[in-house]
């Protein structure tokens, strides 16, 4: 470390003892075998991860054009006339924002209740089970459920009215269902953060005559901003990566289709697609079947998710570079 003065070394010729590494050769055969297997699996995992990134990089960058970011998809059998994926990128953004805007406050509130109140205890246990159930439910099941509920006629303002009931497919509805898959991650991360806080913080606040609610709002939640932020970022990653909900509740149309031409609300009530559904559409399994676009879009998707993962790592293991992480946090949360 720079700036640290080194103390005097022992005089030359002094016998110094360094701890020697334990020799694996002395282990029993079974232990050595398991040791080897452990090494192999670890290396295998690294190779798999590396090859995913490498293949997507090679294929993706090769097929990626800057124009893809600005032009909407077009229906064409020729790959060079099938347009770009500006609409799916916008769609990903909208769904993620709607989903997380719902999941973040609700998740934080649930976590705060579970960690700080949790009375009566039977209700707390029920809420915990409900969160676990939500976390374990496949998103395609949530999507079907969401469509069943949201296509009720009186919820038509969220999508488009149909002959009987409503269409049920829109950015609004996809965001609402997406919030359900992000919710458990926000709850888990926030609750963990609250559990880690020492009780003396709470006592200090109570001893100043502050209510429990004030303590949570003004002391505890600000103190666990990194935990909340990482839960939110994980939730965003989950939303960005989901395909089933997009296909079923957003419609996965080729382009974003605003309703009635109303500027923002119309877009949100309309159907559209995201990068995941776009990749699926252009994969050999989909109707578009232009694999070049699929690779390019998948690469963009991978970069986004990797960037979010790096952000989580930075937020949760920020002790070494606390300053930078905190500055980032302040930037994200807009608070000092």
């Amino acid at each position: 470390m720079a700036g640290v003065a080194l103390g005097p070394a022992p005089p030359p010729g002094t016998l110094t003892v360094r701890p020697r590494r334990e020799s694996v050769a002395a282990w029993p055969l079974v232990d050595r075998a398991w040791y080897g297997i452990a090494w192999l699996t670890g290396i295998g995992l690294c190779l798999t991860a590396l090859s995913i990134v490498a293949i997507m990089l090679v294929k993706g960058v090769g097929y990626l054009n800057l124009a893809d970011f600005t032009s909407p998809p077009a229906a064409s059998l020729q790959q060079n006339q099938s347009g770009g994926f500006s609409d799916p990128i916008i769609g990903t953004l909208i769904v993620t924002v709607i989903g997380i805007v719902i999941a973040a406050p609700v998740g934080v509130a649930i976590a705060a209740w579970l960690a700080e109140y949790a009375r009566p205890s039977w209700l707390a246990r029920t809420v915990e089970s409900a969160i676990e159930m939500l976390a374990g439910t496949p998103s395609v099941v949530l999507a079907i459920f969401g469509l069943a509920v949201l296509s009720q006629g009186y919820l038509g303002f969220l999508s488009q009215g149909a002959a009987r009931g409503s269409l049920g497919e829109s950015f609004f509805n996809a965001g609402i269902v997406m919030s359900l898959i992000a919710l458990p991650l926000v709850v888990a991360s926030t609750r963990e953060g609250l559990f880690q806080l020492p009780d003396r913080l709470r006592e200090a606040s109570y001893a100043l005559g502050k209510t429990r609610a004030t303590t949570i709002r003004c002391v505890l939640l600000p103190a666990i901003r990194p935990s909340m932020a990482s839960g939110i970022v994980l939730g965003m990653g989950r939303i960005i990566g989901d395909t089933a909900i997009i296909t079923i509740v957003l419609g996965a149309t080729l382009r974003n289709e605003p309703v009635n031409g109303v500027p923002v609300i119309g877009l949100l009530r309309g159907t559209g697609s995201t990068l995941t559904s776009y990749v699926f559409y252009n994969s050999p399994a989909g109707e578009g079947n232009s694999h070049e676009k699929a690779y390019a879009a998948a690469f963009v998707l991978l970069v986004i998710v990797l960037a979010l993962n790096a952000l989580v790592t930075r937020l949760t293991h920020g002790s070494g570079e606390r300053g930078r992480a905190l500055r980032l946090l302040r930037f994200l949360t807009g608070r000092v």
Partner: protein, 299 residues
């Protein structure tokens, strides 16, 4: 096979420390020289709280039994005693902080200016009787926000930043000055409180407690995690504060109790053994158990 037993020949007499020179009443010599903290006189001593036959329990375990004590403004009251004697529980019961522990119960009356504290609104009570803990526990926010947080008249912060009216700034500055911290941190009140040293953090906690304008200040071993220099600073501060607030301090450290306290209550296994002026308790304790504790026979 059992290891061979090593036999130690008793070839010399075991070492016995020579008895300390003692004055006639059994206390250690020259008590007057131990009192190092300057003690400014107070204008008036006035009873603020009264504990009448207080019993405290966690579940079925009665950890404080039948304690009757006055708490006076203009005085520092020290609760001394061994670990597990119930001093901290007694202290925490004064602002009903024991109530956040599930299963805690109380019998007897604790009066604040003649009103039973059970009849007061609890958050109101805790603003009037505020507390400083063993471990410095500043909130993870700026120095300013730590103190501003406890201001009673402070509206809950809305928007992005805590609003800083001139009144709030003045109140924060006053509280920091009373805790003897203002000169050290005045340059940058926006610094994170956790960047301060341990002694400064503890004084910040005292400032935070004082900002609520309490009538009684409870201190639970406030110096046990601090170095001697910070301890001396805080002891001086405590003695200075007794003019404006009634101070109750729990301490393990007998020298500290002797230095700061006007009255001392010695507790043992939940019972109040002896209460009296500090000079009397330390120099001429009436009870044998007090005598034993003070001379280090147990504890």
């Amino acid at each position: 096979m059992p290891p061979p037993v090593r036999r130690i020949a008793l070839d010399r007499e075991p070492y016995v420390a020579p008895p300390r020179p003692r004055s006639q009443n059994g206390a250690a010599e020259a008590p007057a020289q131990r009192r190092s903290t300057a003690r400014p006189p107070v204008s008036a001593v006035q009873e603020r709280m009264r504990l009448e036959n207080v019993w405290l329990a966690y579940g079925e375990n009665w950890v404080v039994r039948d304690v009757t004590l006055p708490v006076r403004q203009g005085e520092v009251l020290a609760l001394i005693g061994a670990s597990g004697s119930g001093k901290t529980t007694l202290l925490r019961s004064l602002n009903r902080l024991t109530e956040i522990t599930a299963g805690a119960s109380r019998a007897g009356r604790i009066l604040l200016d003649g009103t039973d504290i059970a009849e007061l609104e609890v958050n109101d009570l805790r603003r009037r009787i505020s507390m400083v803990f063993q471990q410095p526990n500043p909130f993870p926010m700026s120095i300013f926000d730590n103190v501003a947080y406890s201001l009673a008249e402070q509206a809950p912060p809305r928007g992005r930043r805590r609003r800083r009216t001139p009144e709030i700034e003045q109140a924060v500055t006053d509280a920091l000055a009373r805790a003897g911290l203002h000169d050290e941190v005045a340059g940058d009140l926006d610094r994170p409180a956790l960047k301060l040293s341990g002694g400064q953090q503890q004084r910040l906690c005292i400032a935070r407690a004082l900002a609520a304008r309490p009538e009684v200040l409870l201190l639970d071993e406030p110096c046990s995690a601090l170095d001697p220099i910070s301890t001396a600073t805080i002891e001086e501060l405590i003695v200075g504060l007794r003019e404006s607030v009634a101070v109750v301090i729990v301490t393990h450290n007998l020298q500290q109790a002797f230095r700061v306290a006007d009255h001392v209550a010695f507790m043992h296994l939940g019972e109040l053994i002896e209460y009296g002026p500090s000079r009397q308790v330390f120099d001429r304790p009436l009870q044998q158990r007090t005598k034993d504790y003070i001379s280090g026979a147990f504890g």
